[in-house]
Every structure is written in structure tokens, then in C-alpha cells.
Amino acid sequence: MIFQEKTKKHSVANTKPIKSFGLNVILAGFLFCAVSLSAHAQTESEANNAISEAQSLWDESIAAGHEWNTIKPLVAQAKQAFRAKDFATAISLAKEASAQSKEALVQAEYEKTNWVNNLPK
């Protein structure tokens, strides 16, 4: 009997901290969800921007007459990863496509005047 009373007292005494801990966990959960949703949205938009930039630079390299055949598959794979919601891969592939297009554009610009170096000597 004495033991039961003690136990009852003990449980009543600890109710407040448990409630407060539960609230904290729920709040943290909400916060985590909110942050991860926002991060997800940010990554999605970053991937979208990276693909748009890759597409635009690729078009520029085509217009300059120096398209590399390695760029098209990268852009296609980036778009595929985006559709599969694998935004990190999409960003990485789009960035690689952009980098290659930039190099193709440098090549196009350089060759405008330096092609003459390949004339027979």
C-alpha cells in the first residue's frame, strides 16, 4: 500500500517534464519537416536552373558550330535525373554539361583566328 502510494506520487510528480519533452519532439519534427521541405524545394529549383543554364550554353555552342557530342547525353541524363527527383545528380550532370559547353565556346572563339595555324607549312 505504502509502495503504491509512493509510485503514484512519483508518477504525478514526473508528468510535466514528460509532456514538455513530447511537445519539444513534435516541434522539432515540424521544424525538421519544414526545413527539409524548403531544402527540397531549393534543390529542385537549383536543379531546374542548372539544367536551363546547361541547355542555353549547349545551344550557344551549336550556334557557334562547335558542338561536342558529349554534351547532348549529359543534358539528357540531367533531365532524366530531374524527372526521377534525383536533384543532386541532375545538378551535377547539368554543371558538367555547362562546363563542356563553355569549353566548346572557348574553342570556337579561339579557332575563329587560329585555324590558320594548321595550314600546310
Binding site: 551549336i62 561536342w68 557530342n69 547532348k72 579557332e111 590558320v116 594548321n118 600546310p120
Partner: protein, 277 residues
């Protein structure tokens, strides 16, 4: 001292301007001289044999194979197609000078009416269009067979592409020349890097063929293709090998390149169709 440096710089600039603005005749002379000086033991006509003019072992194998050319059936089919009347009763002969026989050496030519380079393959499809027929694929199949047959009727005739001297013809030629010498693709190679500067050397296991004589033997029967392919199909493959995006066959750029390249081989005999690895 400053004046002296200025004079030298001006001299270099003038010299470069002269090289860039050389006439097609000067270009051809420089081009052919480069190859004949690099390979003095090879006659001008033999450059049409490509790597087989440079590599005796490969030549022996090629000659042995040429006893029974792998393209014979396709060539016969090309002749058949050439002589088969269209639905309107006319045939290919009605579209060309000399009934289409022994004319390959005069193509490509600059067509001042349309303002573009006219290759034999385009002329074949134009002939079909004029007679109400559908266009054929520019790289393979029946068109390559017909073109191969037409080449065979020119065997031994010297390439005689008319040199452009002004206007759009010259612009097309210059565009083809620039394409040939410009580096492209991820590997940063120009046509000239392989087929001029490094001609006769190896790229992996393959001997690099001379650009002089390239257009004499197309369409070519390649073992790899197991059939005939046109010059533009081959250029397409070259582009892929340097990781450049290939263009559409008979695109303006490829036609200009063919114009330049064929003019560089003026005076060489047509020896096509031929077989290659």
C-alpha cells in the same frame, strides 16, 4: 630597334594575311606540294589509294581482296537502279550531262542559281524530285549505290572541280577550308591535324590516310559498314571520333567541306568505288 621590331611585326602580319587570303589555286598548289614533298616516292595519282599508298603490308592485303571486290553486287544494283525508269518513264540519265556517264570528276560544283554547292548526291535526289520521286537517304542505301555506279563510269578521269574566283562560290570554298583546318570536338582535333600534319602516322592501330586523294574513291565500301557509304557518312564518323557532334549529311557545312577537299585533289584520277577496312 623599335622601328625594326615594328617592321618585322608588319611583315609577319602581311605574310599571315597572304596565307589566309591565298587563292584556291595557291591553296591547291601548297596542299599538293605538302604531300608530294612528305612522300616523294608516291606519285600524285597514287594518293587516291589512301593508306594503301603508304603502307605496303596493308596494300598487299587490299590488292588480294580486290581480286573479288566485296562491293560488286552493290555496284551492279547501282547500275540497275540508275537505268530503271521512274514512274513517269524518264530516268537518271535525263537529268545529267552526257547521260550521267563520266561526270563524277566535275562534282561538286557551285550552283550560282541556288547559291549553294551542288554535290553529285544532291543532284541525284534533285533528279528524283524533278521526276516526282521521293528523296533517298544521303548516307547509305540506294543513293550510295547509284552514286558508286556513276563514279565507276568516271574511272581514270581526272578530278576537274572549277575553282571559285569570287562571290558566294568563293565564300563557300573559304568556309570549307576553314572547317578543314579548325580544331573541334572534345579531343580538339581538326581534319588537318590527322590527315595532313600527322599523315602516315598511327592513331591507335590505324594509319592516318592523306587528305590528298580522299574524294577520288567515294562512295566507299567499308567492311565496318558492310556496304557503301558516301563521303559525308565518312566525315560524320570522323566528327564522332574527335567527339564533335556530326552534322546532317549534305548540310551546307559538309557540302562546303567537300567542295574544298575535292578541289584540293584536282588533277587526281577517279578510282572509285573502292573498298576500305
Amino acid at each position: 630597334m623599335k622601328k625594326f621590331l615594328n617592321v618585322i611585326t608588319l611583315g609577319i602580319l602581311l605574310l599571315s594575311a597572304c596565307i589566309v587570303n591565298a587563292t584556291p589555286q595557291q591553296d591547291k598548289e601548297d596542299f599538293q606540294t605538302f604531300f608530294t614533298e612528305r612522300f616523294p616516292q608516291i606519285s600524285l595519282a597514287d594518293f587516291g589509294d589512301g593508306v594503301y599508298a603508304l603502307d605496303q603490308d596493308a596494300r598487299d592485303q587490299w590488292e588480294a581482296m580486290s581480286d573479288f571486290p566485296p562491293y560488286e553486287d552493290d555496284l551492279e544494283r547501282g547500275e540497275e537502279l540508275f537505268n530503271t525508269p521512274f514512274a513517269n518513264g524518264k530516268n537518271y540519265a535525263s537529268c545529267f550531262k552526257n547521260d550521267g556517264i563520266n561526270i563524277r570528276q566535275n562534282y561538286p560544283k557551285f550552283d550560282s542559281k541556288s547559291g549553294v554547292v551542288l554535290t553529285l548526291e544532291v543532284a541525284i535526289n534533285e533528279c528524283r524530285a524533278t521526276n516526282g520521286e521521293t528523296a533517298l537517304n544521303y548516307k547509305v542505301g540506294d543513293l550510295a549505290k547509284i552514286s558508286a555506279y556513276m563514279s565507276s563510269t568516271s574511272e581514270g578521269s581526272l578530278i576537274n572541280v572549277v575553282a571559285p574566283s569570287k562571290g558566294n562560290g568563293l565564300k563557300a570554298y573559304e568556309a570549307g577550308k576553314q572547317y578543314f583546318y579548325s580544331k573541334r570536338g572534345q579531343l580538339n582535333f581538326s581534319c588537318a591535324n590527322c590527315h595532313l600534319q600527322n599523315v602516315g602516322r598511327k592513331a591507335r592501330s590505324e594509319t592516318l590516310s592523306p587528305a590528298l586523294g580522299h574524294p577520288t574513291h567515294f562512295p566507299v565500301y567499308r567492311m565496318k559498314w558492310a556496304g557503301f557509304g558516301t563521303l559525308h557518312r565518312r566525315i560524320n564518323s570522323c566528327n564522332k571520333q574527335v567527339r564533335a557532334q556530326p552534322l546532317v549529311a549534305q548540310s551546307e557545312t559538309y557540302k562546303n567541306l567537300e567542295y574544298f577537299l575535292t578541289y584540293m585533289s584536282n588533277g587526281l584520277p577517279i578510282n572509285g568505288p573502292a573498298s576500305r577496312k
